[in-house]
Symmetry: C2
Subunit: 430 residues, 2 copies
């Protein structure tokens, strides 16, 4: 029987039971965190051998013989381009290798559009109105960048196979103030879905009204599978755009932030030769180059896609039980209650819980009160506004299993309590 | 006897001799480079022990216990703030530690002014006119940044004790479109002069017409002394600005690019608490943080100012003979000829040769033809325009001594030849 079907009297009894449980949980004085997609200590430990790859005895030279300790090489060493290209499923010549994280690159890409304009088009800061499409739920830090630059954000529903492409096509082809769209095409943050081949092809075939429209393709979780036998794969967007006659329409991003060390990894942008030339010419003003020694360290440790896959399989061994714990408990304890639904992704860093309408803020607040920090309700939406107040991002990776188990107990109790409260509130209103 | 005093006939004979020498040099098919301020292999070797500071056995934690392998700590670890503060002669709480180089930070500072505005003032990109003062000769990459953003650059003469402060005071106090000034206050690029205490105090006491005027204080060579007994020291500009009632008027930059590895160092910005808060709030949108592991590596290797000074003394041992070689040969072979003057700095990376008016381009072209690449004539000026066509930046650090000696032979020959040619050209014109 779902909560909605439950007679009012029983619902009140359930509420009393849940409140008692909740008080008991609060009394435990927990301090748990399921808010951010951070790797656990054990995951990070897997990359510690990387710290031995370079020593004072290592010739710090690139394959071509360049001294990596000195200035030079703006777009990255060849071997690092190959590594990043492998991750993104594109060609090394499409890649610029950057510094320690990809968020900066995305910020820079938007900033260049604002300040300088793309291919000689009017800089966006000189236009009355600039808009980005934002598939929702999506990544809060993407939305923070566009909000920072005063770019208007338009929600587009994200379905199980990608954004609502009818809506994307309609908007992009008719409104030339739409300059970009944020995408996490594989194991999306936070729902964990991957774009279907048809979705990618429809992206590549867009006919934007704005000549300086770009797809911001954040392939953050490209190698982040959870199951050896269930790996989502997506089409190469750069290749598809090229085939569709839109070679310059996409900027693709990736990093090793969640492969090796978060914040001490390397990152890359992949795009068409013409875009790359445009970007590098401006990058030459901005920097003398990125940390090439850390590029070499990563190449020596990860080697190539085989190396990356073997390394990520070890990470999956650590993460998978955490996803399974949550999913199994949700199924067992929330299944059939009509208290919401959740995603069961094949990779990435997040589970999305879709609570009943109007319940998300209360669930997150209740959990916080009980010592469990969740990502803020609303965070996966532009301006932090979830129109249904229902989406909650769950980040299972950081806490150890026992803490995760406790946090899940709290979360489930809060979901039930908020759901029952909402139903009883309706009863009272009747 | 100077060339100018030489009878025309002798001048023609000198020209013939010089041309023969020059042809002989060209025939040697040299490939030498005195163009960029890059450290030599031997200098870089001094930092190789840094590569052993961290291994898979090292706890990668900050003093406070934060796991440096994970996300977090936007403004740098405390111990790295202390290190960078020591270099800049300021307090650790004034410092934000960034990534691998300081040019990016300066670019970002200007970019923030353009896009977002400072302290709520109109973003510069929304203004009809934005100007920067540029003490000349100066650093070409500074000027490239302001040119990139379409900022008008105004030349201010750089004297032996700093910029012409009468002119700076006059312009800054009367023109509210002047938003900044580029400064390399110690061992300036390229003349090697350091700002006197009076200059620094006059900077601190500026009364800018623009409330969002900032001094861009690039303290790039703060620890780059050449002589143990001749060390230029400058006043702490942040402290001086504070005392003068202008606490928020300066952004100071430094890096370890020429202390450890160029492009794989760490960098910092130092400024007032209010500026820092303003910057960090925007930085939080731009990045999740910089490479904290490399921050730890640097702290372990350099330790503190004593460690930095000992390390830089070793570098000075390698660099000083190169400066002395050039200065001694200039003195011996160009002294008394009236063919120009040169600086003899106590630190930094450059010697500036001031040729006779109208000779710099020809000297650089002749040297190039003979296989010696110099920094382009004009480079030390905004828009690459040297009004007198006389300033040439010499970067002695990169080439080994024997190559430097050869390059100096070429340079001296080219200076003489261009000078004689110029004089004879005048004779012909008479």
């Amino acid at each position: 029987m779902t909560y909605a079907e439950m007679p009012t009297k029983e619902l009140y009894e359930e509420k009393a039971r849940l409140e008692m449980q909740y008080r008991e949980l609060c009394a435990m004085d927990l301090k748990l965190d399921m808010s951010r997609g951070k790797p656990s200590t054990e995951q990070l430990d897997l990359s510690m051998p990387m710290m031995d790859e370079l020593s004072s005895k290592t010739p710090l030279k690139s394959r071509k013989g360049t001294d990596l300790r000195n200035y030079g090489i703006l777009d990255g060493i060849d071997e690092a381009k190959e590594l990043m290209a492998g991750m993104m499923g594109t060609k090394p010549e499409n890649v610029i290798v950057y510094g320690n994280a990809s968020l900066n690159i995305m910020f820079d890409s938007v900033c260049r559009g604002m300040i300088h304009g793309i291919f000689g088009h009017t800089p966006w800061c000189k236009l009355d109105k600039v808009k980005f499409l934002c598939p929702v739920p999506g990544y809060d830090r993407h939305f923070a960048i566009t909000e920072f630059f005063g770019i208007e954000m338009i929600n587009v529903p994200l379905n199980a196979d990608g954004p609502d492409m009818d809506m994307v096509e309609e908007l992009v082809s008719t409104d030339d103030s739409i300059k970009g769209i944020w995408c996490v095409p594989k194991y999306s943050n936070p729902t964990g879905i991957s774009y279907s081949d048809e979705t990618v092809k429809r992206f590549a075939a867009l006919k934007p009204a704005a000549p300086d429209f770009r797809i911001f393709w954040d392939n953050a979780y490209c190698v982040h599978h959870l199951y050896p036998d269930k790996k989502d794969e997506i089409l190469d967007i750069i290749d598809e755009c090229d085939k569709a006659g839109n070679p310059d329409m996409v900027y693709e991003y990736a990093s090793t932030s969640k492969v090796t060390f978060s914040g001490a990894g390397i990152s890359g942008l992949a795009t068409s030769p013409r875009n790359k030339e445009d970007i590098v010419s401006q990058l030459a003003i901005q920097t003398i180059g990125f940390d090439k020694i850390n590029q070499l360290r990563h190449v020596k440790f990860l080697k190539n896609m085989n190396g990356i896959e073997a390394h990520m399989a070890k990470q999956a061994e650590l993460i998978r039980p955490k996803f399974e714990l949550i999913e199994n408990r949700f199924e067992k304890e929330l299944g059939g209650l009509g208290a919401g639904s959740w995603t069961t992704p094949n990779g990435g860093y997040f589970i999305t819980y879709v609570a009943n309408r109007g319940c998300a803020k209360e669930i997150v607040a209740l959990a916080k009160e009980a010592g469990v920090v969740m990502t803020g309700a609303g965070a996966p939406f532009p301006y932090k506004k979830d129109p249904n107040d229902s989406v909650i991002r769950i980040a299972p990776t950081l806490p150890p299993m026992d803490e995760l188990n406790q946090a899940t107990t709290v979360f489930i109790t809060c979901v039930k309590l908020a759901t029952v409260n909402k139903l009883l509130q309706k009863v009272t209103e009747l």
